[in-house]
């Protein structure tokens, strides 16, 4: 297993380097500059600003300078937000996204997995049809519809909950519900599929014939295998969910990472774009590694190669 992990980590580092290089040159080739402004700047002043951020150097030289800095953990200043470094921006907003993402994930797993199991066990009954229809609706109903609907109901009509900001637990509820219910729908469908496959296996029939109670069959014999599809989805979902959702953060004014992804790109804040890309790519690599390990642990047919 150690060999597997080390090999995968080395692969991961190569992937990250490749992503960094591709992002850097794409960003460099994009039209527009972080320093374009609506009101004209004297060329002399623009030259000073560009020199300050190193934009007076050729692209290749900038690439190696920035790569060297990043390898030392230094992502540089934001080219747009005065007095803020990329590291500071990430350090301020990542914990918020992490909290929101973790809460949403709890909601997603807490609702999605039991609902999926239930639907599989009671398949072709209304206990299957209703949750599956609801989850289909949940998948089809994007967060930018769900969010405002929840805000309208609980914020404006019932007046129970605040609809914007991140100042305390009551502010967490609507964004968590919006993000969590969306993922719950996916988990419910994936779990149902996985469980159905397990429940149709021969060993289940044998177990039933031997008189093993249904609860034991479901929870002890089938659950492990039935969760594999959900776990496979968990990797990328986790990376996405904890690095912030632009839509949910925008609707509910959550000061997380998601807004920065879009803002950095629109502002052409090159250093921030690179920092966020590296962060997101790292999360994906790590989550996928963890998922692979979990899959081998759950599925006896898989081995570390």
């Amino acid at each position: 297993m150690l060999k597997f992990v080390i090999a995968r980590l080395l692969q991961g580092i190569l992937v990250l380097l490749a992503i960094y290089a591709v992002t850097f040159f794409l960003v460099a080739a994009t039209p527009g500059s972080p320093f374009s402004t609506e009101r004209a700047i004297a060329p002399e002043i623009l030259a000073q600003i560009e020199a300050f951020y190193g934009y007076d150097k050729p692209t290749s030289e900038r690439f190696f300078t920035s790569l060297t800095n990043v390898l030392q953990g230094e992502f540089g200043p934001s080219a747009v937000y005065a007095n803020r470094t990329v590291t500071q921006i990430i350090a301020e907003s990542f914990p918020v996204s992490l909290l929101l993402g973790s809460l949403a994930l709890l909601v997603a797993l807490g609702i999605g997995i039991p609902a999926g199991i239930l639907a599989a066990v009671k398949r072709n009954t209304w206990l299957d049809y209703i949750p599956m229809s609801v989850s289909m609706a949940g998948i089809c109903l994007p967060t930018f519809v769900m969010g405002p609907l929840l805000a309208l109901l609980f914020g404006l009509i019932l007046n129970w909950l605040p609809v914007g900001g991140w100042f305390g637990p009551e502010f967490w509820i609507l964004p968590t519900a919006t993000l969590g219910l969306y993922y719950a729908a996916y988990f419910a469908r994936l779990t149902r599929g996985g469980m159905l496959e397990m429940l149709n296996q021969d060993f289940v029939r044998t177990a039933r014939a031997k008189g093993v109670p249904e609860t034991t069959i479901v929870l002890k014999h089938c659950l492990k295998g039935g969760l594999i599809p959900a776990i496979t989805f968990l990797g990328p979902a986790l990376a996405g969910i904890i690095s912030g959702s632009f839509v949910v953060e925008t609707i509910f004014q959550v000061p997380g990472l998601g807004q920065w992804f879009v803002r950095a790109a629109l502002n052409r804040d090159d250093f921030l774009v690179l920092g966020l890309t590296v962060l997101f790519a790292t999360l994906i690599v790590i989550m996928n590694l963890l998922v692979d390990i979990a899959q081998v642990a759950l599925n006896p047919r898989l081995k570390y190669d």
């Binding site: 002399e44 300050f52 005065a82 907003s93 605040p162 914007g164 519900a177």
Partner: protein
């Protein structure tokens, strides 16, 4: 196994969440706006996260709204008048007869670090913003000062040659490059604001762009408020500054600036009673608000012009008749009533109406027959043979709507087909400044309430001209206005210059802005201002009597 229907899970879950929420959020049963009004805290929707709060390095409106609470210049905003400046750090000021030398007499005032505010601080500050190494984008605002431009662009190295001098700790003398009677109005702009020299020197020095002096921990101001908290993307809170010279006038205990980019999120927060004032209102909803909450909907004139730039270096726009045809064929009244709906005024000239002492031009009224005649004279009768051209807009629903209406009006009146394409903001800016467009959506908001902020920009080679247009007569009129002996003469010359501009028409004026926003009725002392600059020290909050007992 006992089973619970899934739908019941959702109901229970939401209900549980809602219960927790109702217990925590509404424990007192009082609305947030009401509670804040009792505490004297203004809840302010402020657009977007500020890019910084260093008055010499920022350029945006949200930044300005925060900085004007924290720092005070020589003068301050007048609560109601657009033509006057109230005293600020300067108790009083005077000028020589031709408005070229100004003397400011400073009062006893303190920085938040305890330093006295001295005339030398202004000299230091203006040297800072004009230093080429700092790369301040708004430095050109100070070019009105003698030799400031030469120093800023690196030609002059000796700052003592620039027209600003501290005669003593309390007297500042400013020598201008030309006669400028409206100089005190310009001083309201934050590029003229002082910074605390000690704070700047302690954190990186005068010309360091990333100097840490303007971070939350190190910020030093001299305004009616001081920083209390700053949570990125969430809130910037300022509180009353007890050491402010006019602290007795300040009625608010604090202001919370919420950076809310999203127009719908902002509106939801206002209706959820979490904001006293919004930054904007979605145009399509204006009629609804006008009907349902007329007391909260505010529609103030705003000193800005929405227009299209025409690239006069490209065919067929190198022909002034074509440009005039475009401008005269637009039924702008229809456009503001049916499309923008925010009470905007159809722009019949370039300089907006509302500047006292300057009568807005009526040269660009709706004259479709004349437009068709001009187009035919230029060789495109009925639009025949008119080449394929396009309007460039920056990506935005509102700009697209206007462009589509303009497109249709031109098709209807002139028979020409003009395309529309959108570009992301930064790409749009680059294309506009490199004249890589046919027609480009533009807007210009005044820096100060004087026509010069509009007409100066279309001189030959001006960085903000961006049309390729050049007129020796226009340049001469602007130069003459700059040196005019009296304000009447200056205004007349600027008027003449505007007529030249509107005759040659390198732009198509569309409408004059209004600022439409929602304002809670608890906010008092908030008057319409052409530049949307409201001195917070004169604003106060009155809790609703009907809710007081809750």
């Amino acid at each position: 196994m006992r089973s619970i229907p899934f739908s019941s899970y959702i109901v229970r879950f939401l209900f549980a969440f809602a219960m927790i929420g109702s217990l925590t959020a509404c424990g007192s049963g009082e609305r947030e706006t009401q509670r804040a009004a009792r505490d004297g805290i203004l809840l302010f929707g402020n657009g977007s996260e500020p890019k910084g709060i260093d008055p010499h390095l920022v350029t945006g409106v949200p930044e300005n709204k925060i900085i004007s609470a924290l720092v005070e210049g020589l003068v301050s905003y007048h609560p109601t008048s657009d033509l006057e400046s109230s005293p600020g750090m300067a108790e009083r000021w005077e000028s020589n007869a031709d408005f070229t030398v100004w003397t400011f007499y400073l009062r006893d005032a303190k920085w938040t670090n305890g330093d006295p505010v001295r005339a030398q601080d202004f000299v230091y500050s203006w040297q800072r913003i004009l230093s080429p190494e700092l790369g301040a984008e708004y430095a050109p605002m100070l070019y009105v000062i003698k030799n400031a431009e030469a120093f800023n662009t690196g030609g002059l190295k000796d700052f003592s040659q620039v027209g600003v001098k501290a005669l003593d700790d309390k007297t500042l003398q400013v020598t201008l490059g030309g006669s400028t009677s409206y100089f005190p109005l310009m001083l309201q702009h934050y590029s003229f604001f002082p910074v605390n020299p000690r704070a700047v020197e302690e954190h990186g020095g005068m010309t360091d762009r990333q100097s840490g002096w303007s971070t939350f921990d190190n910020y030093v101001g001299n305004g009616p408020f001081r920083l209390k908290q700053w949570v990125t993307n969430q809130v910037i809170e300022v509180e009353r500054n007890p050491d402010y010279w006019d602290a007795k006038t300040v009625k608010l205990n604090g202001i919370r600036f919420f950076p809310i980019d999203n127009i719908n999120a902002e509106e939801t927060m206002f209706r959820n009673d979490r904001l006293h004032i919004t930054n904007q209102v979605f145009p399509d909803k204006i009629p609804v608000f006008a009907e349902k909450m007329p007391e909260q909907l505010r529609n103030d004139p705003y000193l800005g012009t929405y227009f299209y730039r025409i690239n006069v270096t490209r065919k067929p726009f190198n022909d002034p008749r074509v440009r005039r045809a475009l401008a005269l064929s637009l039924d702008k009244k229809l456009l503001v009533e049916k499309v923008t709906k925010g009470g905007q005024a159809p722009a019949t000239g370039y300089v907006p109406t509302g500047i006292p002492g300057y009568e807005a031009s009526t040269a660009v009224s709706f004259r479709p027959d004349e437009a068709r005649r001009l187009l035919a004279e230029a060789g495109y009768p009925g639009g025949k043979g008119f080449p394929k051209t396009e309007i460039m807009i920056n990506t935005s629903e509102a700009h697209r709507k206007v462009a589509e209406a303009v497109q249709e009006l031109w098709r209807r009146e002139l028979g020409i087909e003009i395309g529309i394409y959108n570009q992301e903001w930064k790409v749009y800016l680059d294309n506009q400044s490199s004249l890589n467009f046919d027609l480009s959506r533009s807007g210009w908001i005044a820096d100060y309430a004087h026509p010069s902020t509009f007409v100066d920009m279309f001189t030959t080679g001006n960085g903000n001209n961006d049309t390729g247009w050049s007129s020796a007569r226009y340049d001469a009129l602007i130069e003459a206005a700059r040196r005019a002996g009296s304000e009447e003469e200056r205004v007349r010359l600027m008027h003449d210059a505007e007529e030249v501009l509107l005759n040659e028409m390198p732009i198509v004026p569309i409408y004059w802005y209004t600022r439409v926003y929602l304002l809670d009725t608890k906010v008092k002392g908030w008057y319409p201002k052409l530049l949307d600059n409201h001195p917070y020290k004169h604003v106060w909050l009155e809790p609703d009597a009907s809710e007081a007992g809750k």
